[in-house]
Amino acid sequence: MKYLDEYRDARLCEKLLTQIRQRATRRWTLMEVCGGQTHGLLRWGIGDELEGEVDLIHGPGCPVCVTPLESIDYAVELARRDDVLLTSFGDMMRVPGSRASLLAARSEGGNVRIVYSPLDAVNIAAKHPEKQVVFFAVGFETTAPAAALAVRQAERLGLLNFSLLVSHVRVQPAMELLANDEYCRVQGFLAAGHVCTVIGYDEFHEFARTYRLPVVVTGFEPVDLLSGILGCVDQLERGEATVDNQYSRSVRAAGNREAIRLIDEVFEVCDRPWRGFGTVARGGISLRQQWRDYDAAIRFPRASLPVVEPAECRSGDVLAGRIKPTECEAFGVGCTPETPLGAPMVSTEGACAAYYRYRATRNLQEEARAAP
């Protein structure tokens, strides 16, 4: 398959692995920002192959995982209203809120529908004037342009029954938070290829300079991931900290201008709570004043029930790269993809789910030996 097979070429991967091993004179600690990259690294066993040369810490880039509990609770609350039809991306459905997930809310009679694009939600609103259609807008800069487009489309169609429950997040402020954390061991970042396709990487130059950390814009296939790691290791060995673009088949320095313009037109930067991080300054976007009519948070008053995080879930530590999923006591015991305690075990982008799914047989044997 074009654009896929050539980036999974086993011989090229082997060559890149050898180059990384030769180039690394010491063990470097890198963070891959995006959950899609985490899955790729585990699926292809890249972390295991580079044990000793590179320590990979999984970053916060799973949009489902960092969506705060209060947003999920709010969405569940809306779904339970008779007048509301809540629309959501599929992998948000099973994420547990304080009391229920959207899937559970639906089974209890809540109105929830899975969509693939915010524009589908606008179409639903056009077809169902008797319902208030709310789109649960989550995700990084990758999904924000489509949400912006949906609001504009709703305005163009004169729809009064469409709104967004906005929980969009921005990736760079979280990277800054991590870089400022005194316990942060990260020496270089693999920046998220999809996010950079939208926002570009111009704004990472100052970050790399300020924190003396190399940033390599990286894709998701094994050849991409290995090239990104090699680029990062190469900079570290040379004592440099600049921005490289490994994912040039998709990413331009200035990003996608039209998408950025759309985001700017509809949204403005705001502080936002992230699950596991607390409030991240400038960590999110919300609807601008002139688009407030489409803000579900304003349209629907909210019952403020307390937010309850499960005590045994350490997803916050996982998301901030403080521990690996397997270091959580609940991993694989009380917490599995079937009975998740936290979002990282649910989402296809989540680090815990990736560890669970791709735990190599070698690790299982070790687990079995370690078991009493």
């Binding site: 949009p63 992998d91 296809t348």
Partner: protein, 350 residues
């Protein structure tokens, strides 16, 4: 994304005037006419013609096999089939993989008030055609009409009866280490086709469901004297679900080689896009077969002689029990546990 698929269109004529009403379900003249003129003619056979409350079937030698299944698919029509062909093939395949020659099926339909009559006719014609292809006769049936909202357009139940052909395959608990595993064709076609149409993914080309009867494929294996341990059509939960059930039955580990899995470019592309795995997607005319060690290649050759199994492929084997019941060996030679499918398949955000 909201565009209708271009290369596939629902074949139903949208004549809004002629619809099934509650009167059709009240057991009087309207019902009789619906059954006599609308349903029976395409299905016609001597056993059905009597139109009694029950049908006596001819005597058969040896044990008979019986199965039942209900079909509630939405949308009713999808690329490669519809609820009618599905209702026949689903039941026929359950009989075939149990080692039986399917002979007779029943057809019970629960119709939501307001269903266009033409839709019903289309489905019944489709039942008739699928039954003919599979070599079964529809010998009895039932029709109920329920008020709007009490059902989703049309539900179908079919019960099937077949003659057991001896020797019957011993079943999954007889699988031994080094037995070989074969799938009869490309996997995930049905699940992806239905998802593409139901969720209006706007794919071009739209993947086609594999909905088909496996009768001839099973007969070919038998004619080829292939020593079969077990057969199962890989419906809900896909090939992964069957592997897990079998591993539990035989208490061995089943190991599958991912690069060998037959997957069409459309299914592969769609699954990559949505972050789902074809091995978890439903099939409706594709089975998993376990054969004695050394027979894998021969079984594949025999299967490929039948159109319904022309994509048959050796995908793995049974090994001594390891820590996990099902292993999948990825392209790079690394082995991972293969998850048992759980609940709904939920596409990812980005």
């Amino acid at each position: 994304m909201s565009q209708q698929p271009r290369s596939w269109a629902c074949p139903v004529v949208k004549d809004e005037s002629d619809r099934i009403t509650l009167a059709h379900g009240e057991g009087r003249r309207a019902t009789r006419l619906l059954i006599r003129d609308g349903i029976v003619p395409p299905l016609d056979n001597p056993l059905l013609r009597a139109l009694g409350d029950a049908t006596s079937l001819p005597r058969v030698d040896g044990p008979i096999v019986m199965t039942t299944d209900s079909f509630v698919i939405s949308p009713l029509f999808f690329p490669g089939g519809d609820i009618g062909s599905l209702a026949v093939n689903g039941t026929v395949n359950d009989l075939a993989v149990a080692g039986a020659r399917p002979r007779w099926i029943s057809l019970a339909m629960i119709i939501e008030e307001g269903l266009p009559s033409e839709t019903l006719s289309h489905v019944v014609r489709s039942v008739a055609e699928a039954a003919r292809t599979a070599g079964v006769e529809v010998v009895t049936g039932d029709t109920k009409v329920v008020p709007r909202g009490a059902a989703d357009k049309l539900f179908i139940n079919t019960t099937g009866i077949g003659e057991l052909v001896t020797p019957a395959p011993p079943g999954p608990s007889a699988i031994q280490a080094d037995d070989e595993l074969i799938v009869s064709g490309p996997i995930g076609q049905h699940g992806v086709a239905v998802m593409a149409v139901r969720d209006e993914l706007g794919l071009d080309p739209v993947p086609e469901s594999d909905c088909a009867a496996l009768v001839e494929a099973v007969a070919a294996l038998r004619a080829g004297d292939v020593p079969i341990r077990a057969m199962r059509d890989a419906t809900r939960g896909g090939v992964a679900a069957v592997l897990h059930e079998w591993a539990e039955d035989c208490q061995l580990t089943l190991s599958v080689d991912e690069p060998s899995l037959p997957i069409s470019p459309e299914v592969r592309g769609t699954c990559e896009l949505l972050g789902i795995d074809p091995i978890h997607m439903a099939n409706e005319g594709t089975m998993l077969v376990a054969v004695e060690r050394g027979w894998g290649a021969a079984a594949v050759e025999v299967l490929r002689s039948e159109p319904v199994a022309s994509g048959a492929t050796l995908i793995g084997r049974a090994v001594d029990r390891q820590l996990v019941p099902v292993l999948i060996r990825r392209e790079n030679g690394r082995e991972f546990p293969l998850d048992e499918p759980t609940g709904a398949i939920l596409p990812r955000i980005c």
